[in-house]
Chain length 332, copies 2
């Protein structure tokens, strides 16, 4: 079975020329039903499958899209990847997935590899090193998600209403009686977390609570590191509420504080961000800000497809998806 069948074989079998076979396979315009049948029969009989490499060489299209993201094991990116892939698959577009591991060097290699592979478009979640954006050719369809490029590039961007999320979380804590509210965030300079921080600050301001920089706790989004940070500050700073910029941070915090003897939410209330599946099943379950990951993923896929089919869409747009608070046991 392993002998490769080409269009030539089909053409011979059907008694027509290769171009006719090609026509039938591609759109069927200008072909009699009879020839069409002959060709289709031959295709079936020989079990012919077009060689997409050859087609790609000729058409300069590969029907593939690259996705570069920082870490597939992070449930946010994992779900995003899944929903993007789902949508692309509906359109018979393949996804080339690349983990940059938050490493600009690896990210650069991947961008180049994907360009070499002639992907039709690129969906990009930055590791935070904006210079890599310069690697994209002008005419390559690109959609950036989640982490906004700081430079004033004319680029499509999709994310959640992060600032609003930070505001909602903080407001919820304040209205529940918290006055000394920590924020847990990552260390990135440019990231959705900074928007969340802005929301946090805005809420404090609206409720006439002073913002204190030492209440911002920075940590990688890593259970172990956040544990160490909490241990380090819990008896130096007095606090009755925590806005964690990611559910992972919330989990690390809850676990650590519980071990220290604090009651959640009686002593300390906590709000997370992302609504990862475990948030609902943690002990206690975690109040969190939900992002509509599926919508973001599907929109990205749809947008990249649109850009591929119609490269001149003019001024690039940004899209921000709504977030909402889900009340659970970690707040009163």
């Amino acid at each position: 079975m392993s002998v490769k069948i080409s269009m030539k074989d089909v053409a011979k079998e059907a008694g027509v020329s290769v171009s006719t076979v090609s026509r039938v396979l591609n759109n069927g315009k200008y072909v009699t039903d009879e020839t069409k049948n002959k060709v289709n029969t031959a295709v079936k009989k020989l079990n012919y499958r077009p060689n997409v490499i050859a087609r790609g060489l000729r058409t300069q299209k590969t029907n593939s899209v690259g996705l570069i993201l920082p870490d597939i094991t992070n449930e946010f990116f994992g779900k995003l990847a899944k929903s993007i892939e789902e949508k692309l698959n509906e359109h018979n577009i393949n996804l080339l997935l690349c983990n940059s591991n938050e490493n600009p060097k690896i990210e650069k290699n991947y961008i180049e590899a994907l360009l070499d592979k002639s992907v039709d478009g690129l969906i990009f979640i930055s590791s935070g090193f904006d210079e890599n954006l310069d690697l994209f050719p002008e005419d390559l369809p690109v959609v950036v998600i989640d982490r906004r490029p700081s430079a004033d590039r004319n680029i499509y961007f999709i994310s959640s209403e992060n600032k609003k999320g930070g505001y909602l979380a903080t407001k919820h804590l304040i209205e529940n009686g918290c006055r000394d509210i920590l924020m847990l965030k990552d260390e990135k300079l440019v990231s959705p977390m900074n928007e969340r921080l802005l929301g946090y600050q805005a809420a404090l301001r609206d409720y006439n609570i002073d913002f204190r920089p030492e209440y911002i706790i920075k940590s990688k989004i890593d259970l172990k590191e956040i544990k160490e940070k909490i241990l380090k500050i819990h008896n130096k700073i007095k606090f009755d509420g925590i806005f964690a910029g990611a559910d992972r941070l919330a989990i690390g915090a809850i676990r650590t504080l519980s071990k220290l003897g604090y009651q959640i939410p009686a002593d300390i209330q906590i709000v997370g961000f992302d609504n990862i599946p475990f948030a609902k099943y943690y002990n206690p379950s975690i109040t969190t800000i939900a992002q509509q990951i599926d919508k973001i993923g599907h929109k990205s896929a749809e947008l990249i497809i649109e850009l591929i089919n119609n490269k001149n869409m003019g001024q690039a747009d940004s899209f921000y998806f709504p977030v909402y608070l889900i009340k659970r046991e970690s707040t009163t």
Copy 2:
């Protein structure tokens, strides 16, 4: 910048022929250092990058490997994908990732798409529908992970010592005093869970405890479904220990039982499987059987590379990686 540079341009710039350029780029054999220099200079100057599509058409190699797995948002598969990708990346091989979503139909489409793309090899985690294995051409390098194909195919297979894991978990519970031990497993007929079940049964036998089929609780690996199952049986069946075939199942069970008022581990002890990152940070932290996912991933990648480079490796092997128990708070 967006004008595509081809070998022709480089040849012209360097004042040599395309075949010489090709030689320099590929191995540099039979070329004077002088010509080599001229070519390399031209390559740099023009910022030339070879067109991998054209090369693929010519050489029938694509330097890419397909990975089909059931669900990237499952942390086990996510980590696996990451470690596979890592290793392949070291060898400049690209990974085409496909989510079958546990759906044989989608899986079939992906297999065909990957074959069409002329991937050099395929790493495969089955959705459980063995017929799809028949789609692989005889001469395609294939490595199957985790879910063993039932048929007697001559195929490379890699997984953990699942039976031993089930044994260790159950033994631990028994030695901690449990006598009525539930096992939580998925509903798949062919899967690592069945090996784990065998280990569970073996341990019961070794300790002279009767195996009772009604103590096997079947559920999708889904927090919500396991919750429903637990609610349904907790006052029908008396039990003092649970071996959960996956940490997700353990989490669903712990959460549900806690809400019902049971103390973990005082009333009921629980052992999970996989050692997902959250296992350590759950409340209570979860005793679990750890798989060496990185080793499995790296081995798969190395193996597929070997198979690609040397297709006739004769009789296919199987590899089983050790597992071990990590003691945490969910058992005494």
